[in-house]
């Protein structure tokens, strides 16, 4: 056995907890302390996160109180950016759009995902292949599948309108991305299409932990399929569904790329989300302070969701 290992051996017992900085302790022994070892490991990643995540966040808060264009210098304007946003109808429209988009898409994903999980929780051949195929929309780059959707929804030669024409239902299909209501429906459909498998597969893994015995004894007691679903499956799945939905709410609420690629926020701002509007203000309009303020306006929502989540986790 080599000498360092010999030296390290008695460390856990022999060193009293009080002597944190005792000079006669060799570095080797010092490092063996649980807390010292922990903090030595933690320091590099924490420094990294502090520099590239903590600093930009603080700087973003700072920026939101300044008037600063892309090249120019910053002047302090206090709450002016936030007041501007408060009086900006497009900002409020984006906020309403974001809520509509999030509620509709997450609702659809939750119900659809539950359905997908119930269908997948049966025995059939090629089950794992099916599961792998169903997950595809979730794993391919969102931007690339969104571009495909843009082409599916193209008013002239897109798949939907071509199928409508070929089947004789409608000679000229609707302008999916040109009409405000349909454009909102379209972004909800595409977001749901992408996120559904995530719900489905997560809920499926929850379903697989529901004990068969419960179903069997309930069946003996005369419970039907619906009763068993309502009183056994659903209550046991609730934690999984809640966690998955919380995650999804956060990332749907802050979605950017789907709308940026599919509609660019149009027509007439009808699909602008808070994220795309913040981008338009800061990168399109060159007003970094205003854009930063718009992005930070989403924080309260994130905070609320996080508080709800921690409350729920604590309760468990």
């Amino acid at each position: 056995m080599n000498p360092t290992m010999e030296a390290a051996r008695p460390a856990p017992q022999a060193v009293p907890a009080a002597g944190f900085f005792r000079p006669w302790i060799r570095p080797g022994e010092w490092v063996e302390r649980e807390s010292v070892f922990s903090w030595l490991m933690l320091t590099p990643p924490l420094l990294f996160l502090l520099a590239f995540l903590g600093y930009p966040f603080v700087y973003g808060v700072f920026l939101s109180f300044f008037n600063r264009d892309v090249a120019g210098s910053a002047t302090f304007v206090g709450l002016h950016n936030f007041i501007n946003l408060w009086n900006d109808p497009v900002f409020w429209q984006s906020a309403r759009n974001t809520v509509k988009f999030t509620v509709a898409a997450c609702g659809l994903k939750m119900v659809g995902g539950l359905g997908m999980a119930l269908v997948m929780n049966q025995n059939f051949r090629l089950k794992s292949l099916t599961r792998a195929l169903l997950l595809l929309p979730f794993i391919v780059p969102t931007v690339l599948s969104t571009v495909a959707w843009q082409w599916i929804l193209d008013p002239g030669m897109g798949l939907f309108n071509r199928l409508l024409a070929v089947s004789g239902l409608m000679q000229n299909g609707p302008s999916w991305l040109g009409n405000p209501t349909l454009a909102m429906v379209s972004i909800i459909i595409v977001n749901t299409w992408r996120g559904l498998p995530f719900f489905g597969i997560s809920i499926l893994s929850g379903l697989q932990t529901v004990p068969m015995e419960l179903h069997e004894s309930a069946t003996i007691d005369g419970a039907g399929t619906w009763d068993r679903f309502r009183h056994i499956t659903l209550p046991l799945l609730l934690p999984v569904i809640l966690i998955v939905t919380t995650f999804s709410v956060i990332f749907t609420f802050f979605d950017f790329q789907l709308v940026y690629v599919l509609t660019g926020g149009g027509p007439a701002n009808s699909t602008h989300l808070m994220a795309t509007y913040a981008y338009a203000l800061s990168m399109g309009g060159g007003q970094m302070g205003l854009g930063s303020a718009a992005a930070l306006s989403m924080v309260p929502v994130l905070g609320l969701v996080l508080v709800a989540l921690t409350y729920y986790v604590r309760k468990d």
């Binding site: 490991m41 973003g60 099916t130 794993i139 495909a148």
Partner: protein, 281 residues
């Protein structure tokens, strides 16, 4: 009678919804592939059935590879994804190991911080981040995204790895320490090798997320030859005239292939990671 009921149940409870789900999930890929394999004459023929191909042709693929920087974008994407995944796994495991296995002052607060940073979306940070990267003079370099992607991936890797690290019994580590191993040796020789599935899972996810990332690439990569695939496809293949769909779909389809290949090889780890309750949806 009973047999009939089961058969009907099977049809309406399994096969019809299953086929519907598969068609809904996969038709955009079919549409991508079909479009990319048709000549323009066939593609924009209003009388043809949209999903049939009569004269398959690789003309859009050849055009894509000749006329755009697609090959360079793919190489950039791979390079960026590989390096940022490596950084994220390293930093993520350094964060996860003490949090999952050790007792030290501040552990609870730190675990909460990691969870919160994991849930902070990049949409919240992109404005100051753009400014920050420009002031570091990293605008229009691959380093800009190599340095910023780990901000998304480190908390995520840490979160996923913590779950795996916790599964290794404490006794194994104690036995190694009693046998004279240092904490470092116990970690690198005993615990980490047992967590290989966790590293593969986290690595696959991080790699896929890095390949799919859009917003930071959009902000930082403005020159064609340093772009990644998502940003190149959206930024350069959508052209002014109306007849770009063939090449665009060829690019989108080719761009999906590396991700799909990796996914196919590691699908087991992917599903394991997904269902460990730590993936963003």
């Amino acid at each position: 009678m009973v047999g009939e009921l089961t058969w009907q149940r099977r049809l309406f409870g399994l096969w019809i919804p299953m086929v519907a789900l598969l068609v809904m999930g996969l038709f955009p890929f079919a549409w991508m592939a079909v479009t990319s394999l048709k000549t323009n004459a066939e593609l924009y023929d209003p009388k043809a059935f949209p999903l049939a191909i009569h004269h398959p042709s690789l003309v859009h693929y050849i055009g894509l590879l000749k006329e755009s920087n697609f090959v360079i974008w793919t190489a950039n994407t791979m390079l960026v994804a590989l390096i940022s995944t490596a950084i994220s796994l390293l930093l993520g495991s350094m964060l996860a190991y003490p949090l999952a296995r050790m007792r030290f002052p501040g552990a609870a607060l730190l675990a909460l911080t990691v969870a919160v940073t994991y849930l902070v979306p990049q949409t919240l940070l992109f404005v100051p981040m753009a400014d920050f990267i420009n002031r570091l003079n990293l605008g229009n370099t691959l380093s800009a995204v190599i340095l910023t992607y780990p901000t998304l991936l480190v908390p995520f890797c840490a979160w996923l790895l913590m779950g795996y690290f916790k599964t290794v019994p404490k006794e194994l580590e104690e036995a190694a320490l009693i046998d004279g191993a240092s904490r470092w040796r116990a970690m690198t020789r005993v615990i980490l090798p047992l967590c290989m599935p966790g590293f593969i899972s986290a690595g696959i996810f991080a790699f896929t997320l890095a390949q799919n990332e859009f917003l930071y690439a959009l902000l930082f990569l403005n020159r064609s030859n340093i772009r990644t695939v998502p940003i190149g496809v959206v930024g350069e293949l959508i052209r002014g005239d109306a007849f770009y769909w063939g090449q665009l779909m060829a690019g989108a389809f080719l761009g999906c292939i590396p991700v799909i290949l990796i996914y196919t090889f590691f699908v087991k780890y992917y599903v394991a990671g997904l269902t460990s309750g730590s993936v963003k949806g």
